[in-house]
């Protein structure tokens, strides 16, 4: 019987299925971080249990960490305790931790792929909704809650009902200045912030195939923003080339064996999906959001729709029927698990080189990992940013969720490459406009929402 990519991976991981209920799904890789794990460890200890398969867990500290002076003790007491607790828990349970100061530290969804821990055909979970990022490698990857984190720690399994399957085909060539971030913002604007709830999404089509792994990760990352359980892309040569040689990638005969298997991971010609959506890449403009959920986005030359939710617009201080282009900006944040990889930084640097930031904006560039940071320094990208007046900070989630000190002040506008523009996401009463790194860079230079296509 023809199978989808999802079904091929799912079927091999089902330990058993409960009659009329969910399946017991085996989990290959489990990522943990300081915010959603402490209660899970406590739960285990309360039951007197040990971690079942500590070698299948990788930990990092990312959500809470400062992005300046990481060599000093964390100033904020609660954050410090949380990060310290992770260190102790990992030590006690023999879990590999890439904590502060470690050369592999970084945002959990950046380091997994970058270290070659994330591989095709795997089931991957993390107590974080953007775990969908790892689906870019042809894995079933999804976010879970803390109780589920505890279940995976205790049994390496989860009870899951099989989701419905959706395929989104993006065919054609992207226009100048249009990036993978614009594709996903366009899709979400198209189908709404709840348009894929209950589904697992496979992205396909020539525009997706032509993306780098970084670009594919950006797309899968935001699957959750339309409600999807996860997103995935069939692995191909781009995927294999990316993984080969990375720290934890298979080697030698093991590589050949895995590769042969990975090549079988695609949706069969006649496999069927519960829903299919076709998108023409040529219709996609550089995108920007104007509201308080990621589905509230328009092309950068568009107008805020007259049907937009008034509560959202009041929060944002914006008006229906007006153009978004030209809107003054106070902060630019280039970072988060959506867009903080080396390719994002390179793209921004190549545009910014020889230009200067506008006086009215503050620009924070927060690399996704220590390795991204080091690579940027090696390539001289740090100097380009310094000359432009951009601050290159140290790796972490930072202003994506503003759990550390990196908060956008109340009422200020921030153009952000992250994934959520919810009320208060970047700080109480902060106003977030989501966009691609290139669009964010254009705003940094002009001090307002600008159309990157006019500059390149």
């Amino acid at each position: 019987m023809p199978k989808t990519l999802f079904e091929k991976i799912w079927d091999r991981h089902v330990v058993k299925t409960i009659d009329g209920g969910p399946s017991v799904l085996y989990i290959d890789r489990h990522f943990i971080h300081e915010v959603t794990s402490p209660q899970a460890f406590k739960g285990l200890e309360k039951r007197g249990l040990e971690v079942f398969r500590p070698k299948q867990i990788v930990a990092t500290a990312d959500h809470n960490v400062p992005t300046l002076d990481q060599h000093l003790p964390i100033k904020e007491e609660l954050s410090r305790i949380q990060v310290q607790q992770l260190v102790e828990n990992c030590k006690k349970h023999h879990i590999e931790l890439y904590g502060l100061g470690h050369p592999y530290q970084g945002i959990v969804h950046v380091i997994g792929p970058e270290l070659g821990v994330t591989q095709p055909g795997m089931t991957i979970v993390c107590g974080d909704s953007h775990t969908s990022t790892h689906g870019a490698f042809g894995a079933i990857a999804f976010g879970i809650g803390t109780s589920e984190v505890g279940m995976v720690m205790a049994t390496q399994c989860l009870l899951q009902s099989k989701p419905k399957l959706m395929r989104i085909n993006v065919e054609g060539t992207l226009g100048k200045g249009v990036t993978s971030k614009d594709i996903i913002l366009y899709i979400i604007a198209h189908i709404s912030a709840s348009g894929a709830t209950g589904y697992f999404v496979e992205y396909a089509g020539s525009a997706i195939r032509n993306l780098s792994m970084e670009g594919r990760m950006t797309i899968c990352n935001m699957s959750i923003e339309m409600g999807a359980r996860g997103g995935m892309i069939a692995p191909d040569e781009t995927t294999f080339n990316y993984i080969k040689g990375r720290q934890f990638a298979p080697r030698g005969a093991e590589w050949d064996k895995k590769l042969a298997d990975w090549k079988q991971l695609y949706s069969d010609e006649s496999a069927s999906f519960d829903k299919e959506i076709d998108i023409d890449a040529a219709d996609i403009e550089p995108m920007i959001t104007y509201g308080t959920n990621p589905g509230m986005g328009v092309g950068v030359t568009g107008q805020i729709p007259s049907t937009a939710d008034p509560k959202s617009l009041t929060y944002m201080g914006l008006h229906a029927g007006t153009a978004i282009k030209g809107q003054k900006i106070d902060y630019v944040f280039i970072g988060s698990c959506t867009n903080s990889r080396i390719e994002d930084l390179r793209q921004v640097a190549s545009f910014v080189k020889g230009r200067k930031k506008a006086d009215n904006v503050e620009v924070w560039i927060v690399p996704g990992s220590k390795q991204v940071e080091q690579q940027a320094i090696k390539e001289g990208i740090d100097k380009v940013f310094a000359e432009a007046g951009f601050q290159l900070r140290q790796p972490g989630c930072s202003a994506c969720l503003a759990m550390n000190e990196d908060k956008i002040p109340a009422g200020k506008y921030c153009i952000s490459t992250s994934n959520r523009n919810f009320e208060g996401r970047q700080g109480p009463n902060a106003r977030t406009l989501l966009a691609s790194p290139l669009t964010a860079a254009a705003a940094a230079i002009t001090g307002e929402v600008a159309d990157i296509r006019e500059f390149i």
Partner: protein
């Protein structure tokens, strides 16, 4: 501690917004605790309190007219972040049921794992509950898990829940108990697994 849920009969608190994301339910800056308790105080923090900590009068949780163990919320409740703290905060604030016409997937799982029952009703039924509460804030809502029915303002509707989860909730079982009971099967599965 008996966590089991069966019948719940209570007045309700209406949270009329749609697309309520878990960042609103509990903002990230309150996620720094390392225990599960105490999140209720910060439930809907930024909708409920001004920056100086004084309550916002117009927010429903600050209106003494509304109370009860049931929260009724607009479509697509619990979207966004996977933080289970959202379910903890709602439960900690004294709710046992959330009613909406649509729940985000991760929130729904988190709620179920904390014996907070998510009841999905039709949009029409949801609006009729809001209307009934508008008319009389003391309107009783009856939720019967065994029968999978919800009754409010003279109308009833059946809601769906998978059998396995229903049994867990009725008996106070956790998924983890079940998974631990089949660890032997999990180990044999691991031995058979050749790839990945």
């Amino acid at each position: 501690m008996s966590k089991a849920i069966d019948k719940i009969s209570s007045t309700a608190v209406p949270v009329r917004f749609e697309n309520v994301d878990t960042d609103q339910v509990i903002p990230a800056r309150f996620l720094k605790a390392t225990s599960r308790e105490g999140f209720g105080d910060n439930l809907f923090r930024d909708w409920r309190y001004n920056a100086d900590g004084t309550p916002k009068k117009d927010f429903v949780l600050n209106n003494p007219v509304y109370s009860g163990k049931i929260m009724v919320a607009g479509k697509n409740f619990g979207c966004g972040s996977s933080r289970e703290h959202a379910a903890w905060a709602i439960k900690d604030a004294g709710f046992d049921v959330v009613v909406s016409s649509f729940f985000a997937d991760i929130f729904k799982n988190n709620a179920l794992n904390n014996f907070l029952l998510p009841v999905t009703v039709s949009e029409d039924f949801l609006q009729s509950i809001f209307k009934a509460i508008d008319k009389d804030p003391k309107t009783k809502i009856d939720v019967d898990l065994e029968k999978q029915s919800i009754t409010a303002g003279g109308r009833s509707e059946r809601f769906e829940i998978n059998n396995y989860k229903k049994t867990c909730l009725l008996n106070g079982y956790d998924d983890i108990d079940f998974l631990l009971s089949i660890r032997g099967e999990i180990e044999s599965f691991e031995k058979k697994q050749t790839i990945a």
